[in-house]
Subunit: 220 residues, 2 copies
């Protein structure tokens, strides 16, 4: 029996949102998955198959439900999703930003639509000045987000954000999902490099033909 | 006794140039280290301490000497160093670009002066259209470049470039230095992401207090 955990609202019902939602619900979190189309069969199927306390609703429903909110939308849809959810629903909450500003306008593999002097993480924090935004999960595949241990070893999660307490809360949530202590690279402006890393990661995955590739940072 | 290897010209006599120079000379390569100040004590000391066939000279001397050229200059000094060396000295040669376009104008940790729609690797290839530029070594510390195996495992080297033969040659040189087969992410435009990764790597190193941190990409 898992102990009671926080209420989590997930914005975005693609593979990332569904994987994190199932994983967190299985660990005792009370999860609402928010979608533009909550009635879609794929989402209703997820609702039936997930173990634990799970519900589905609109972006606004999920944002109101969660004490912790997780952004799992497509990069280019993220700011609009926040507006649809109602920015007031984010105030004073931990907001985990798992998005990537990938630019597919020139095909695969993608570029970034933010350059290296801004990031989607910073844009989200500017849009939600009262929220405590922590960049997390954007550097790994959705299949790696829950129970990440691989045969070759344990990958590392890298996070950043402006609020120390929020980052400690994220470390606790990561531990529940099976991760080691994350590497915290500082303020939310670090998202520039976590997001740029994802463009590299996509190229590694394509080259290796393996979407589960995940970095471990060797230290000795 | 090592077998005869290619002549290598290294542009840049900082830690990266000296580490690669010593490492390659010890493996049988005939190395000339090129510098703006070849008479400087630090460089003459390196010359005395290095094992194997080593010499020092100007950028132009080193560029003329090498069948393989390695760019180890500061990012912002790279294009000028190439001009000083004489662009004709690069024609038809393998040019390994180990540089990073780090922008320290706002202090530490650095940004990039190229954004994500260009890279220093591409700039070098444009400046040297007849050379075969391969981005390599820029993602690890100079102490990791030679005999990279760590207690925790073997890091991965990632390379990119437009010429397949040149990349195979780099893979051979990496093998001589103790690396596994590198991960080749495609054309030289991949340098955008290898260079952006370095900005992340600097932040990881600062956070962990460990400049030897190096990524291994777990695949299973």
């Amino acid at each position: 029996m898992e102990s009671m955990k926080s209420k989590v609202g997930i914005l975005g019902s693609g593979e990332v949102g569904r994987s994190l939602g199932s994983g967190l619900a299985a660990k005792g979190y009370d999860v609402e998955l928010g979608s533009r189309t909550p009635d879609k069969k794929q989402i209703q199927d997820w609702l039936k198959s997930a173990v634990g306390r799970v519900s589905v609703g609109t972006f606004a429903d999920a944002a109101a439900h969660g004490e912790i909110l997780i952004l799992c939308t497509l990069g280019e849809a993220t700011e609009n999703a926040i507006e649809l959810a109602g920015t007031g629903n984010f105030d004073a909450k931990l907001v985990i930003d798992a998005t990537n500003p990938l630019d597919f306008s020139k095909g695969m593999p993608p570029g970034l639509f933010v350059g290296t002097t801004d990031s989607l993480g910073e844009r989200v924090q500017r849009l939600l000045p009262k929220a405590k935004v922590v960049k997390c999960f954007n550097t790994v595949n959705n299949k790696t987000m829950v129970n990440p241990r691989m045969k070759e070893g344990m990958p590392d999660m890298i996070i950043c954000g402006n609020d120390e307490g929020a980052k400690r809360e994220v470390a606790g949530l990561l531990k529940d999902l099976g991760w080691n202590e994350p590497i915290d690279i500082g303020g939310i402006e670090g998202a520039r490099w976590l997001e740029a890393y994802t463009a590299l990661w996509v190229r590694l995955a394509l080259k290796l033909g393996n979407w589960s590739v995940a970095a471990r940072f060797l230290r000795s």
